[in-house]
């Protein structure tokens, strides 16, 4: 859906928001921002702003929904009505239903559910502002919230979108790049396991481009993964927006 008039990338390879092709947007991570949940995190990636919170493991009611050999993981990805350009109607859109599913499946890939039979773990991802990459930033936040809640995981999940814009492969698409670009490929990994936990492609890539895009994503993911681990290490050391 390339729009010929828009010029998203300059001849010098500078993107519309001033970034280089393989550059992440500024990433801000806060852990433990919502008191009433068992774990929570706030992630800002450029103008994309997301809260995640985790409750559990807790008893399942009604009981007949419980699984005898492991925990149920519930996940809701939701956007506030004012998070997007056109007001989102109240209620879950089909997009939110799909993203709740792929985020849940990504998290189920790393959480040791077998350790908590007959319980449920609830993960809520709330998009406060959407400027591209909300599912991946939401996953980045959710895995930190799980960590804060003390839920054992095989690895943190770190995630980013890569894509193709005006013929260039770029890292971490913002909204306008997603909209007018040629491809958007969100990827989440468990980096230590060298495994992919979320993968979608919306757009067209040659096989060669796919290979390169995957490499680029891994680069971004390693950078985010490092910042997640740093944030967990120095939890609460900086002044938080929530505590201003």
């Amino acid at each position: 859906m390339k729009n010929e008039k828009l010029k998203l990338i300059s001849e010098e390879g500078i993107r519309i928001d001033g970034r280089k092709l393989e550059e992440l947007r500024p990433l801000r991570i806060e852990i433990g921002v919502l008191d009433k949940s068992d774990g929570s995190a706030y992630v800002e990636l450029g103008k994309t702003k997301i809260f995640a919170a985790v409750f559990g493991p807790r008893e399942v009611h009604p009981k007949h929904l419980a699984l005898p050999d492991r925990a149920i993981l519930n996940c809701r990805y939701h956007m506030t009505s004012f998070s997007v350009d056109e007001r989102k109607p109240l209620g879950m859109t089909r997009r939110e239903i799909e993203l709740s599913k792929v985020i849940r499946e990504a998290l189920e890939s790393v959480v040791f559910l077998e350790e908590f039979p007959r319980t449920s773990i609830d993960v809520y991802v709330e998009v406060i502002q959407a400027d591209g990459g909300t599912r991946t930033a939401g996953l980045t936040a959710a895995s930190l919230a799980l960590a804060e809640a003390g839920i054992p995981m095989a690895d943190l999940v770190a995630a980013v979108a890569v894509g193709k814009v005006e013929g260039h492969l770029v890292l971490d698409l913002c909204d306008i790049e997603d909209k007018y670009g040629e491809a958007d490929m969100p990827i989440a990994m468990a980096p230590r396991l060298n495994s992919i936990v979320l993968l979608q492609l919306n757009g067209r890539l040659t096989k060669e481009e796919f290979r390169k895009a995957l490499e680029l994503a891994k680069k971004g993911i390693m950078e985010i993964y490092q910042k997640q681990r740093d944030a967990l290490r120095k939890k609460y050391s900086e002044v938080s927006l929530m505590e201003v």
Partner: protein, 275 residues
């Protein structure tokens, strides 16, 4: 169908006894006096895609409000006015007691009480929201999200709505060749009133304000009173089962009048309003 909420547990009764005994001494669990409100923090403009937004915390309770504007038709019986609508969602990430799904009766009540408070105090000049009489007018969508729930989501919700309204920049539209388009300019809403609310909790014959969540579950009954800057009572809502001793009402109205002044002052300081 409105359904009874869970009964105060045995623990809650013990907590109630404890809170009541403290109240008798003019004290509370968290060190406040009965008529102290918790610290308030206001951050505006967090959501750039909204036309106005505010993140407000009152103690451990956090509320996010955003405003979006659309252009639509005015109501047939008010052709010279724009309109607004208030929605509220108790997000499940705010509390183990909130469920995902469409707003339950508590969310509906919150939205409607805030709506009435704003509407009856004539806070927004609806005539300024008219674009073409009888044809086009601005519609404000004011959406409240409870992000973290440590008791009393009413008072900070009203603060957040007023902060979002006070700092909103509404995109101006004009009609060019019969078609609506944005001019690229923005206008402010110029609030005409600042109606804050105070939430009261009663245990036996004593009351407290701004209950924190442990207190909330131990109350006999609770009540919200809204007062504007001219000291008019602009909204009341009893919002729980229980008996309000009639002779406490007058005193609570007085306290609401005082305490909304405190909030109004903090609000104006935070937003740099000379009111």
């Amino acid at each position: 169908m409105s359904i009874s909420q869970m009964k105060k547990s045995l623990t809650a009764r013990i907590v109630q006894e404890k809170i009541y005994n403290l109240l008798m001494q003019g004290k509370r669990l968290d060190g406040r006096s009965p008529t102290d409100i918790r610290p308030i923090n206001i951050v505006t403009g967090l959501v750039e895609k909204a036309d106005g937004s505010a993140l407000v915390s009152m103690g451990g309770t956090k509320i996010l409000v955003g405003i979006k504007t659309e252009v639509g038709s005015p109501y047939p019986d008010r052709p010279r006015e724009g309109s607004f609508t208030v929605n509220a969602e108790l997000l499940p990430l705010a509390s183990i007691s909130f469920e995902p799904g469409p707003p339950d009766e508590r969310g509906v009540e919150l939205a409607r009480v805030v709506d009435r408070s704003i509407r009856e105090s004539r806070c927004i000049d609806l005539e300024k929201l008219c674009l073409i009489e009888g044809e086009k007018a601005y519609i404000l969508f004011i959406d409240i999200y409870v992000l973290d729930y440590d008791g009393n989501y009413y008072d900070p919700s009203t603060i957040a709505v007023l902060a979002a309204l006070a700092t909103a920049r509404i995109p101006r539209y004009e009609v060019v060749n019969g078609k609506l388009q944005k001019t690229g300019e923005y206008f402010n809403l110029q609030l005409q009133s600042l109606p804050f609310t105070i939430t009261f909790g009663i245990i036996k014959e004593r009351f407290l304000v701004d209950p924190q969540i442990e207190e909330e579950s131990a109350l006999d009954v609770s009540l919200i009173i809204g007062v504007d800057e001219k000291d008019n009572v602009v909204s009341i809502q009893k919002n729980s089962p229980g008996l309000i001793p009639e002779n406490l009402l007058e005193q609570m109205i007085e306290t609401a009048s005082e305490k909304t002044k405190t909030i109004r002052q903090k609000f104006c300081e935070a937003l740099n309003i000379g009111k």
